[in-house]
């Protein structure tokens, strides 16, 4: 249960400067590389004309091809090499344009990076950052759409962060780079298009604290990565029918700030966890289980998980729509939870709350 000494959740950022998520990532990388000559950025295609959606634009020119370079198509060995670099005192940021490709690097990430410090009795550190992007829509399909962060939360020794705003994108990447441990940094490709306030100077958003992004007394919505955006939109739909949702962004998934989440659910008595991943054995399962454990005997709860449909991601656009939760389906579920009855309500789409649109090829 939440201890009385709980730190307050993070405040919202205050600044007039607006940046896209892409530019926030790029800026964090540039500032960290300028600050510390040990920081290097590499991975397939980081130095090509598309520059990983722009997130690595300009880095090779400013820091040279030794500190920012593309690699062969060799996820396994490149991850192993990143670990070796980290053991030697570099602070590599290894970039993957799709999180799905991490399945080729699991051995180095989980058998080596996550375990090295412990199995060598604390004699070494692996200050490695792995940036991995979740794809969505335009028929990206089965192998280009997975959110696999739950697998990394399963294994001790590696941290996981999934920023949802440009502000956190910048601050979390800086924190990840400065962290002496392996960190999986999860980006959602649809978030790349979003904009928000980002201070110019370097700052970090450290592990350990969630952010309450909206206050409300009726239901707690925990939205992970891009689902944070959908949860905030869902809260707007819910406000239209008089329901006040509290929205929480965990930001860091490992370590996870359960104090902030439990404190909220203790007040609202209702929780929906919305993930951009499968719920089975995923982050949503963990959060739900911890809330159930920590609030048992304290108050009666209503709980629900939402995430990918328990199937493979299809490409037909109509099926793809059904595969993902969205603001309206989250709002509908929340209303049912609050009113404790299947209302059958689905809000009509509000033009100002439309989900991000994306036009291919990718």
């Amino acid at each position: 249960m939440p201890s009385p000494a709980v730190k307050p959740p993070r405040p919202a950022p205050k600044t007039d400067r607006t940046l896209s998520f892409v530019d926030a990532v790029r800026e964090a990388a540039e500032l960290e590389m300028a600050r510390d000559p040990n920081v290097i950025v590499f991975g397939l295609d980081v130095d090509d004309p598309k520059a990983i959606q722009g997130t690595t634009r300009g880095l090779p020119e400013r820091f040279g091809p030794e500190r920012c370079f593309g690699t062969p198509l060799s996820e396994d060995a490149m991850t192993g090499a990143a670990i070796g670099m980290a053991l030697a005192g570099l602070r590599p940021v290894h970039v993957h344009i799709r999180m799905d490709f991490l399945l080729l690097a699991m051995n180095q990430l989980l058998n080596v990076a996550a375990k090295s410090r412990y199995m060598y009795g604390g004699r070494v550190n692996v200050p490695l950052v792995v940036r991995a992007m979740i794809g969505k829509s335009w028929g990206q399909g089965a192998q280009h759409s997975q959110g696999l962060h739950g697998m990394f939360m399963h294994v001790p020794g590696i941290k996981v962060v999934a920023p949802a705003t440009p502000y956190d994108a910048k601050g979390c990447l800086a924190a990840a780079v400065r962290d002496d441990n392996p960190v999986l940094y999860v980006e959602h490709r649809l978030l790349h298009f979003t904009k928000g306030p980002v201070p110019e100077a370097a700052y970090t958003v450290e592990p350990g604290k969630a952010r309450v992004t909206r206050r409300g007394a009726d239901v707690t919505l925990v939205g992970i990565s891009s689902m944070q955006v959908e949860c905030l939109r869902a809260a707007a739909y819910l406000a239209d029918v008089g329901i006040e949702a509290e929205v929480i962004d965990p930001i860091w998934l490992s370590p996870l700030d359960m104090d902030t989440i439990c404190e909220s659910v203790e007040r609202t008595g209702r929780l929906i966890v919305v993930d951009t991943a499968w719920t089975n054995c995923g982050a949503a399962a963990e959060i739900t289980a911890q809330v159930a454990e920590r609030l048992q005997g304290i108050r009666d709860l209503r709980l629900k998980r939402m995430g990918f449909a328990p199937t493979t991601c299809p490409t037909a656009p109509n099926l793809e729509d059904l595969f993902y939760p969205n603001a309206r389906t989250v709002a509908a579920a929340a209303r049912d939870l609050v009113e404790d009855v299947k209302t059958g309500w689905l809000p009509a789409e509000r033009a100002d709350l439309k989900s991000i649109e994306f036009k291919g090829p990718f």
């Binding site: 397939l44 598309k50 593309g70 198509l73 060799s74 028929g139 490409t315 109509n318 090829p361």
Partner: protein
Amino acid sequence: MLARLYRSLYRIRRVEEEVARAYPTDKIKSPVHLSIGQEAVSVGVCAALRPTDVVFGTYRGHALYLAKGGDLNAMVAELYGKATGCARGKGGSMHLVDTAAGVMGTSAVVGTTIANAAGYAYALKTRRSDAVVVSFFGDGASEEGVFAETLNFASLKSLPVLFVCENNGYAIHTSQAKRQGRPDIAARAEAYGIPAERLDGNDVVGLLERTRTVLSGMRALGGPHFFEVKTYRLREHVGPGRDFALGYRAEAEAEPWVTNDPVQKLAARLPAGERVAIEQEVEAEVAAAFAFAEASPFPAAGELMTDIYQEAGDALACR
């Protein structure tokens, strides 16, 4: 034979040009990796195959699928995400399949089907079949560990796989020289004990003949073989357009490939009447395929939860 090759080449080129033409309408919500410029590799090799032979390919799979005899209507419908698609609208451009034609799969994760092909060949071998498997992949795929592991296994077990590396010189926007310490892919096959040779990807007749010779040896004696085929991609890595403006390659580099475009070359070798007849037939077929795709329905909503598992009603998948 020339007519057959021309029909196949022209048909693939025209299908992909139509894909590119239709793309801006946003009806094809699928990432397309066009083979324009590379068609002769699939056409030449597949012309030597029997229907019972099997191929595995990649996300850049339109040419291979068609060259091996995959159903055209089902392919275009798949790009449109329609229920009549070869993967019933669930796979899109990157996951073409036509088991009846021996197109066993095309994957969006680079390198994966190389190992699948070897396994399929193992099965054929245990059955004393004289069919062969052909594994198509790019120069980039040769850098994945699975490539080396598979070469060793195929060599060790003397499997009937023909490896065809379509070396177009690039992985996305990065040239082979920037990715390979020794840019000689055939040499790696040899290091694993597999006979290997380098071929010209524009020489469709040469490819056909060489494949025929190699396969008759493989059918009789077993054992893998390796082709490194030099070719060139004329469009962008993914999407319908050209990409010389990106600056990662000079347009001049493409010139010899355009000059030697096998579609044009072969056209010139056919009697005009025969050529025109082929082209007219193909045009009609292509137009019909796009009309079929447009007219086809999207999958029913219930399709989201079918085909996850093979069993009655896929009930297990639905909680």
